[in-house]
Symmetry: C2
Subunit: 219 residues, 2 copies
């Protein structure tokens, strides 16, 4: 088994690496730099026809893409500690929260990145496309209202999906780590949310390593 | 147990209703018309603070939102026929395909709907917002290239995630049913894809009922 991977801050590969650390699973990583277009090379498109990272390749050559699907597979092989819930209801709640974070918060972050960030402006222009800046900017208040919603939800709650750390925390953490790198931050008055972020960042799995990244944390 | 629901063509409630028919599960439906703002009423926001449908309410009052999370819960209660896969690998593949359809195809359909459709123009304006029409239009070629990609993937394959009908087919079917209603169609040359669409539409679970809808199929 091996994992085609990209360094921080790429949010989807990061999710799987955090999951591996939380589970104490060791899988060889194959560095596949997006900046060199390795994810669009013909030999990679055979593994994932969408040309996206990460991809888990099994020993028989079968490939699984999509970070959450990869982690779901690994959860069945290594059930402890459970990160997708321990009962039918918990599993549904973790899935619900993964989806809420992705659709309500990661989506506006992604649109801000694709449609307003100077780094992607160059990438998009090279492809003959263009950024839709006004639309991208309209996602900032959507992100902010999403943060306020999540802050209310986290009142009196330790982790995103309930009292235990789960895959929903990993999805949220990778979202806000990436957001921070592109200059999008959690509002100061979201104190429950910021306390949660401190909590997950204190875990040994959390270290963000930007040494190989073209993007650095804004100062 | 009861399901807060909206009529066709709303794609997310539709997914759960198709799933229920495929499983032959009978759950009381509580019609919650979006057009009357019932999903934003305080008594509904207690069930889903995001104000979205569908929501499954359990007998003890616990609520699960997000169509796929609801179906995942019901799958554990009613395992036959399996619609999320029958092994760790199959379950990962079904999840991968659900996500691929949502991110690669439902997303552009959603952006075309929100940012170009005359029906949503009025809704967005009433909220003091605006449509980003140029951005919305830019999603049409993204949808088309996504259809061509899916068409290639379906070469020699009966269903979205492999030889068996799964939740990934339900997610895809609800996407293209909704797309059709808003005038976005599968390109004619996507013959594998169109054959798949005929296949799922021939199932007893498929009937699209627009009798209560303000949107009708374009003629």
């Amino acid at each position: 088994m091996k994992l085609y991977d990209e360094s921080d801050p790429a949010p989807n590969p990061r999710r799987v690496r955090i999951f591996l650390k939380e589970k104490d699973i060791d899988i060889p990583l194959v560095h596949t730099p997006l900046s060199k277009g390795k994810h669009k090379a013909p030999e990679f498109l055979v593994k994932n026809s969408l040309g996206q990272l990460p991809v888990l390749e099994l020993d028989d050559g079968t490939c699984i893409s999509e970070s959450v699907a990869i982690c779901r597979y690994l959860e069945e092989l290594h059930p402890e500690p459970p990160l997708f819930g321990s009962s039918a209801l918990e599993r549904a709640q973790v899935d619900m929260w993964i989806r809420r974070i992705e659709f309500r918060l990661m989506q506006p972050v992604g649109q801000i990145w694709v449609n307003t960030h100077p780094f992607t402006a160059a990438v998009v222009a090279a492809r003959g496309g263009k950024q839709h800046v006004e639309f991208g900017e309209s996602n900032r208040p959507i992100f902010e209202s999403g943060c306020k919603w999540l802050n209310r939800e986290l009142e009196g709650r330790e982790f995103i999906a309930g009292p235990r750390y789960t895959m929903a925390d990993i999805v949220a953490q990778s979202t806000f780590d990436f957001a921070r790198v592109i200059g999008v931050t959690i509002p100061d008055n979201c104190t429950n949310f910021l306390a949660w972020y401190d909590r997950v960042n204190a875990r040994p799995s959390a270290a963000l390593d930007l040494s190989k990244s073209l993007l650095k944390l804004p100062t």
